[in-house]
Each structure stands twice: as structure tokens, then as C-alpha cells.
């Protein structure tokens, strides 16, 4: 094959020869049509990942929120610290070398790593960390609550997070929490450290570089840089040649938008893509015998649940809520519908997190459900509505649940709606029951504990939580959960969460059903993929082909 011109974003020119003559051209076209086309396998130095990325609206690390966006920023930017995915309780420094907590319990001092540099060549300093965390709060982005829950506001942030010199960052939180709590939050994707000099150079009208970073630009220190973003088509990452750590073996990573899972499967089998992220149980089973494909299982923190609106006259009664928990065929759904992609899980902390407990006391039991309903004073058949996103797996879950509800004398009306309507109804709590999922924002138990068992009134930031959304107020559990996040002894903290969950599942308006088991399929020559426990937390920089 003759070398062709390729011009990529880093302005590298590859050499090309003279324009072909007419007879050469004719020969090429004829040959091309009759000879088999160039092998459709992906190039050796490129990792092609199939994912649904048509909803990515920004690649600004402090504003990002969709799967494609977070996957990208996780390869391009780095945080102060991270955690070992195999053992989430083990926290390690990335851009911060070490840290310490003063005796007052609120003042953290981070020492930055000396040899870290950004892709631009600028060194990573505490001032960049300061700028980044300030930016997250001042932009009032949708991910800001992860940090602002520590009592930071745009008004006090300049005082609370300060770089005292190039290597030292001091963070003063609002109250004395468990130290791991802050560290887990800082390890999450909104805690990305950006190149403050580069971003300030591209600032426009005081937007802190938001317009620039929203587009096809990056200012990170990670193993890859953003090379191209064609919205709804693909995101291309190129190896960071200035990377301060071990440079990745794979030069180019491409996230391709391929929405249809059957298409992903066919392309993976042909070698046109290397990794397929969005395969359903049908495709995984069909590929089980294929020697060219390997399926890697990972921990996922996502929990599927039904939110019961406690404002509804029936759902306000605890016995009714408990009855509903006995009207779902958890095991049946896992075995027949999900087939390897879900496991039964009935508490609010996913397996693999600090404080997780193996407590699944509910099973399908219509007789018990009926007796609970009678205790609640509910006579005869009652009707409830459930808002369901009209895509798998929700559709299948909903139909199964409707059937088992009927066994308990409850007529469940399913409202199948599209994704945006589903979110709108949930926000407005304009429903009886909502079938959905929850992914923790950071690998600390407080993320879920706060969402499901703490009312805004009892939390320092006063923000509404899921408990509020579903109209349930419980002071006792709120107080206990807030005490757990302040407990400095990790073992004790672990135990507190376990007890909270057991009590919570006996009264809360949440029917926890399943925890997701993520499965990613790849060509068997791809090794080194690290699957994180968090949302869109796959790490591609250790892969080889």
C-alpha cells in the first residue's frame, strides 16, 4: 500500500508520493474492485471501542456527565488521588504525593508530586489544583455538589482551598468527616486537575475557559490527549508524548458511536472494533463459544430500584411498601431476563464498597404481601402507576413486576416513556412508582447513604436527596447516616453502614432489586483493560494489542 497523507490534530505530516498516472489509477480501481479489500481489522496501534456517545454535550472535565464524556476525561485528566479498583479501600496518590490531616479534623494538607507535567509541558503545581477545584465550584456545574457538600461555596472557596506554595495545597472542609470521604470525592472525575495557564490563556469573558474546554480541546496531564471530537460520531484520543508516567503502549484510542448492540457484536467478531461496551445478555451468550473473543467481567456500582412515592395514599403506609418488596420475583428476573448481567441486591450500598452487606431478605411471596396489605387496612384491588423508560432492561423488568404485583392484588399500570420524559417525571415526582437506577458519584458509601437515607434538612448542604424526592422523611436514619460519614475509625464506619442498611430496607420507600454486573467483550489480543467500579471508569492506558 502506498503511503497516504494523513494530517492529525498535532499537525504531523506523513509523506506521500507523486500523484498517480491515469493508467496507474485505472489499474488501482480495477484491482481494488476485484481483489479483496484491505483487511478490515483495526490498525495495530489503535484501540477502537464501541459505545453509545451521541449524548455527549461537553468534554470539559468539570462539567462532563455523559458516559462518553466521562470515559474521555478519565483518560485525559488526572485527579489528586485514586483508589485501587481491585480493593476500593486502598487509596493511592496520583498528582498528590502525600497528604495529612491536622488534629482539628478539618484541615487537609496535600503535597503535590514533583515530576508531574501537563501535556502542554507546564508542570503540575498546587496552583493548578487550586484553580481546578475553584473552577468546579465557581462554574456551578452539575458535578459541583460532589465538592460543595464539604461546605464550599463560590464565596468561601478562595479561603477554604488555597495553594500556599507551588507544591502545597491546603483544603479546609466545613465539618470533621471521615478522611476517606474527602479523598474518595477528590478521586472522582470532577476532581480533574487542569492546566491553569493553558485554560487562562483561552478564557473568554470570564468564563474560566468553559467555551474552550467544552469543545475539542483539552488541558490535562493524563496518558492521553484529546485529538478529535466529531459529535455523535467519534472521539479520538492520542497518546500524550509528554506524559510523566509510563507511556501507554497503544497510540490512539477511538471511541466510536455504535448504538445498536447487534452491530457492535458483528463488528467485534469481524475485528472492526476491539472492545464492545454495550452488549446485552443475548449477544454475550451468543459469543460465549467464540475463540477470538474474551469477555471481561467488572464490578459495577449501579443499582436498579423502584422508587415509591410516599406521598401516594397507599405508599405512605409502611406495610404497603413492605408488601411490594415481596411482590418482585428477584431470582426469576435475574435468571431468565438478565442472565449474567445482574445479581440480586436489596440494600443501598453496592457490593465492593465499604459498608456493603449481604442482606437480601425479600423474595416473591404473594401470601405474605397480601397479609401485609391487610394489616395496612387495604381491602380489595388497588391501582398504582409505574413510569418506565421504554428501553431494555426496564421494559422487561416492568412487565415481570406487573405480573407479580397482580398476584398480590395490585393492578400496576405501566407508563412507557422515553428517556427525557422519564427523567422529567422523576424530577417532578409526578408519579406513583419510578423504575430506575442509581450510580454512585464516588466510591464512598456516603454517596448512596446520603441519597437514599438522608433528608436534605439534616444534611449540611440542604440539597434535596432521593429520600426527599420520594416524599419520605426519616430523621433517625438521617442522623445515623450523617454520624457514619463523620466516623474516623474505618472498621466502625463499615459496621454502622451495615446496620443502617438493614434497618433502612425495612421501612424505606425503595425496592432495591439488582446490582449490575458489567461485562465488556473484546478481541482476545487486547489485554490490560482495567474496569473501574464507578460510572464510566474504564482505564485504557495499560492496554496492549
Amino acid at each position: 500500500m502506498r503511503p497516504v497523507v494523513a494530517i492529525d490534530d498535532l499537525n504531523t505530516y506523513y509523506f506521500r508520493e507523486q500523484m498517480p498516472t491515469l493508467s496507474e489509477t485505472r489499474r488501482d480501481i480495477v484491482l481494488g474492485l476485484f481483489v479483496a479489500p484491505a483487511p478490515a481489522k483495526t490498525p495495530k496501534n489503535t484501540l477502537v471501542i464501541a459505545e453509545a456517545i451521541d449524548d455527549v454535550i461537553t468534554l470539559d472535565p468539570h462539567d462532563v456527565g455523559e458516559i462518553g464524556g466521562v470515559l474521555t476525561t478519565n483518560q485525559v485528566y488526572q485527579t489528586l488521588c485514586t483508589y485501587d479498583t481491585a480493593n476500593p479501600e486502598n487509596i493511592q496518590g496520583v498528582l498528590a504525593e502525600k497528604w495529612s490531616l491536622a488534629d482539628d479534623g478539618v484541615t487537609f494538607t496535600f503535597t503535590m508530586r514533583e515530576n508531574a507535567v501537563f501535556a502542554s509541558g507546564n508542570p503540575v503545581t498546587a496552583r493548578d489544583a487550586e484553580y481546578s477545584l475553584h473552577r468546579l465550584v465557581k462554574l456551578k456545574s452539575r458535578s459541583a455538589p460532589i465538592i460543595t457538600q464539604f461546605g464550599f461555596t463560590p464565596e468561601n472557596i478562595n479561603e477554604r482551598i488555597k495553594a500556599t506554595d507551588d507544591r502545597t495545597l491546603v483544603i479546609k472542609v466545613g465539618e470533621a468527616y471521615a478522611p476517606s470521604f474527602l479523598l474518595y470525592c477528590l478521586s472522582s472525575y470532577p476532581g480533574a486537575i487542569v492546566d491553569s495557564k493553558l485554560v487562562k490563556d483561552h478564557e473568554k469573558d470570564g468564563d474560566m475557559g468553559q467555551a474552550w474546554l467544552k469543545a475539542e480541546n483539552s488541558a490535562g496531564s493524563g496518558p492521553y490527549v484529546l485529538s478529535m471530537w466529531k459529535p455523535k460520531e467519534k472521539i479520538v484520543l492520542k497518546r500524550n508524548e509528554n506524559y510523566w508516567g509510563a507511556k501507554p503502549a497503544v497510540e490512539t484510542v477511538i471511541l466510536r458511536h455504535i448504538a445498536e448492540s447487534s452491530t457492535q457484536r458483528l463488528m467485534l467478531e469481524k475485528g472492526d472494533i476491539d472492545i464492545a461496551n454495550k452488549l446485552g445478555p443475548d449477544e454475550l451468550e451468543a459469543m460465549a463459544g467464540n475463540a477470538d473473543i474474551r469477555i471481561q467481567q467488572g464490578l459495577s456500582g449501579t443499582i436498579y430500584y423502584m422508587g415509591l412515592n410516599a406521598r401516594n395514599e397507599y405508599l405512605a403506609k409502611k406495610e404497603v411498601r413492605q408488601a411490594l418488596k415481596h411482590l418482585v420475583d428477584y431470582q426469576g428476573i435475574v435468571e431468565t431476563i438478565s442472565r449474567g448481567t445482574m445479581e440480586v441486591h436489596q440494600t443501598f450500598l453496592p457490593r465492593g464498597f465499604l459498608g456493603a452487606v449481604d442482606a437480601n431478605p425479600f423474595a416473591l411471596d404473594p401470601a405474605k404481601a397480601k397479609s401485609l396489605l391487610q394489616q395496612a387496612g387495604v381491602a380489595g384491588e388497588i391501582e398504582l402507576g409505574m413510569v418506565v423508560w421504554n428501553v431494555p432492561p426496564y421494559v422487561d423488568f416492568a412487565q415481570a413486576i406487573q405480573a407479580t404485583f397482580a398476584q398480590g392484588g395490585i393492578k400496576l399500570n405501566l407508563e412507557m416513556v422515553d428517556g427525557k420524559q422519564w427523567l422529567t417525571r422523576y424530577r417532578n415526582h409526578d408519579l406513583d412508582i419510578w423504575l430506575g437506577l442509581w450510580g454512585p458519584d464516588y466510591p464512598d458509601p456516603h454517596s448512596n447513604a446520603k441519597a437514599f437515607s438522608v433528608n436534605g434538612a439534616f444534611s449540611p448542604d440542604k440539597n434535596d436527596t432521593l429520600a426527599d424526592r420520594f416524599g419520605w422523611t426519616n430523621e433517625e436514619l438521617s442522623v445515623r447516616a450523617m454520624a457514619a460519614v463523620r466516623e474516623r475509625d474505618t472498621a466502625k464506619r463499615h459496621q454502622m453502614y451495615q446496620e443502617i442498611q438493614k434497618d433502612h430496607q425495612q421501612s424505606a420507600p425503595f425496592v432495591y432489586c439488582f446490582q449490575e454486573k458489567r461485562a465488556v467483550a473484546m478481541r482476545n489480543n487486547v489485554t490490560g483493560l482495567v474496569m473501574g467500579a464507578m460510572f464510566a471508569d474504564d482505564r485504557y492506558w495499560n492496554t496492549t494489542k
Partner: protein
């Protein structure tokens, strides 16, 4: 050839504008009635109230509907369809990026439809009720009855996965992407202009299967309509006259019957082309084809109303223009309408 059609132009232009305006009205107000919260779509479900309020104001949603509509119409006239909050580009630019892919595919489809469908229809009409007629009609019937989603997946499975005869989903292999500079957005033309023959061949391989599938659907419809109008022509009196005069059968079929049959077929072909240009969402999803259908559908699911309206206006305009062209061609080709 009289210039009557030129004198009709003001009428045509007026119809065009009124139809377009009606289209804008309906799409805009449907967009406002649909129970999707575009602000929640942008900020997500975990955002605090102040972020929500800020975006609400930025989108101009605090102004009355009539004001929003008026502003929208004025901007559309200038070609400003707003910015897509997903792609962060002007919608017009998005359309310039995504439409050529659909245009390329649709053009391949309609050409296949015309060059296979019309001869098939003629053959079926001339040899009516013979086995060839039945065969053509069955093939056509299968074409527009079969669930397209299923057919596309099965063809992809057979011809791409198993037999390796065609290129896979997507417009190019990863290896050939981003080599040819974008001039028109249609890879065939751009590759020809750049002289990149390997890219051209690869693009053709990828166009082959989706193009054939679209061609099959249009062929099914076109052949059936051609057969219909041809049968009508073949039984007309002038045919008997021509045969009596001693003209050869092939001559009268092609020179007389077919030419007359083509006049109503113009409308059929124009509408089929318009239908293909709308961008088949199913096809584009299965073949990961970054075209207009995908763009409008994903914008709708993201509640990106600027993009949806822009895309819908484009599709509406295409239909209106195609209708106009077929009207004009009608008047040129059919002397009786003058």
C-alpha cells in the same frame, strides 16, 4: 416549448413559502407541548436549583411562547437555526456535516431503484401474468413488506460477517478515516477530488450494502408503480393504432408507452427520493451511518429542540422542493398541461 411554467413561478414561490411557514408553526408548537423538560435534559437530574434556573434563562424559556416563535422565524430566515446544545455547533453546521452522508446513501439508493425498478416494471407489464411478472411482483412485495430492521441485520450478518463481501457498518474502515479532506461531505466525490483511490474503493464497499438495501426498497415501490402506469398505457388506443401502422413492438413500448408512463413516474420517483433523503433512522442506526436520520432521532431523544426543528425544516424543505421540481418537470414534459 412555451414559457407558461415561468409565469407560474410566483404562484409556486408563494405556495412554497406558505407551506414552509405552516411547517415551522406546527413543529415549533409541538415542540413546546411535548412533555419533555429541555432544561433537565441539559443539566441532568442531579443539578441544584440555581444551575437549573440559569440554564432556563439562557434558553430563553422565561419569555412567552409567541415571542420565542417570532424570534425563531426571524432567525430561520437568516439561516440561523440556533445552536445544538449537544454538539455545541450551529444547527446549520451540524446539518452540513450530517446531511451529505444521507444524501450520498439516498442517491445511491434511488439510482439503484430507478435502474432496476423501471426496467423491472416494464418487463412485468409487457409480459403480464407470465412467470417473470409474478417473480418481479413477489420480489417487490417482499421488499416493502419485510421489516426493514430485520432485513438489514440479516444481510449484515450474511454478507458482512459471514461472507466478507461488503464493508461493515460505518462509512469507512478505521484505517482510512480522516485522510480525505472534506469538500462536499460525500466521500465518493471527496475521494475522487483528492485522488485517493483506496479510500474511494473502501467507501464504495461500505456504501454497497446499505445502498443496496435502500435500492431494494425503492425498487420494490418503483417497479410496482411503473408496472401499473405501463399497463395503463399499453391498453390505450394509440397502442393499437401504432401496431396497426406496423411499428415494431419494442419501438412502441419504449418510444411511446414508456415515455408517457414516465410522466406520472416523475412524481413517484421524486417522492421516493424525498423519503430516502429523510434518512432512515433504522438503517443509519444499524450501519452506524452518521446521517440526518440519526441526527434528528438522537436530538429528539436528547430533547435538543433547536436541532430537531432545524432537521425537520430541512426535511420539509426537501419535500417541498422535490414537489416543486416534479411539478415543473410535469409542465415541461407534458404538452397537455400547458
Amino acid at each position: 416549448m412555451s414559457l407558461a411554467w415561468v409565469r407560474q413561478l410566483p404562484n409556486t414561490a408563494a405556495t412554497f413559502i406558505i407551506t414552509l411557514f405552516g411547517l415551522i408553526c406546527i413543529t415549533f408548537f409541538i415542540g413546546r407541548i411535548v412533555p419533555i423538560d429541555p432544561v433537565a435534559a441539559i443539566v441532568g437530574d442531579k443539578a441544584p436549583q440555581e444551575v437549573y434556573d440559569r440554564v432556563y434563562h439562557e434558553l430563553g424559556m422565561d419569555k412567552p411562547a409567541i415571542v420565542q416563535f417570532g424570534k425563531y422565524v426571524l432567525k430561520s430566515i437568516r439561516g440561523d437555526f440556533g445552536t445544538s446544545f449537544v454538539t455545541n455547533r450551529p444547527v446549520l453546521q451540524d446539518i452540513i456535516v450530517f446531511f451529505p452522508a444521507t444524501l450520498e446513501l439516498a442517491t445511491v439508493g434511488i439510482l439503484i431503484g430507478i435502474f432496476l425498478g423501471i426496467p423491472a416494471g416494464v418487463v412485468a407489464a409487457v409480459w403480464r401474468d407470465r412467470w417473470i411478472d409474478h417473480l418481479i411482483r413477489i420480489v417487490g412485495l417482499v421488499g416493502y413488506s419485510i421489516p426493514f430492521f430485520w432485513l438489514a441485520l440479516v444481510c449484515l450478518f450474511v454478507f458482512y460477517a459471514k461472507l466478507d463481501l461488503v464493508g461493515g457498518p460505518g462509512r469507512l474502515d478505521t484505517f482510512f478515516e480522516d485522510i480525505v479532506p472534506t469538500v462536499t461531505g460525500m466521500l465518493i466525490i471527496d475521494a475522487l477530488l483528492a485522488g485517493e483511490w483506496e479510500v474511494l474503493v473502501n467507501a464504495l464497499y461500505h456504501l454497497l450494502l446499505p445502498g443496496l438495501l435502500l435500492g431494494y426498497i425503492s425498487m420494490a415501490y418503483i417497479s410496482r408503480m411503473t408496472r401499473s402506469v405501463m399497463l395503463e398505457q399499453l391498453t390505450k388506443e394509440y397502442m393499437i393504432t401504432a401496431r396497426v401502422k406496423g411499428l415494431g413492438e419494442i419501438h412502441i413500448v419504449f418510444h411511446h408507452a414508456l415515455r408517457n408512463a414516465m410522466i406520472p413516474m416523475i412524481t413517484v420517483i421524486a417522492l421516493t427520493y424525498g423519503y430516502l433523503l429523510e434518512g432512515s433512522v433504522l438503517l443509519e442506526t444499524i450501519f452506524a451511518w452518521p446521517g440526518l436520520g440519526n441526527y434528528i432521532a438522537s436530538s429528539l431523544l436528547s430533547a435538543d429542540m433547536n436541532a430537531v426543528l432545524g432537521g425537520t425544516l430541512l426535511v420539509g424543505t426537501i419535500f417541498i422542493v422535490l414537489n416543486m421540481i416534479s411539478d415543473i418537470l410535469y409542465r415541461i414534459l407534458d404538452p397537455r398541461s400547458r
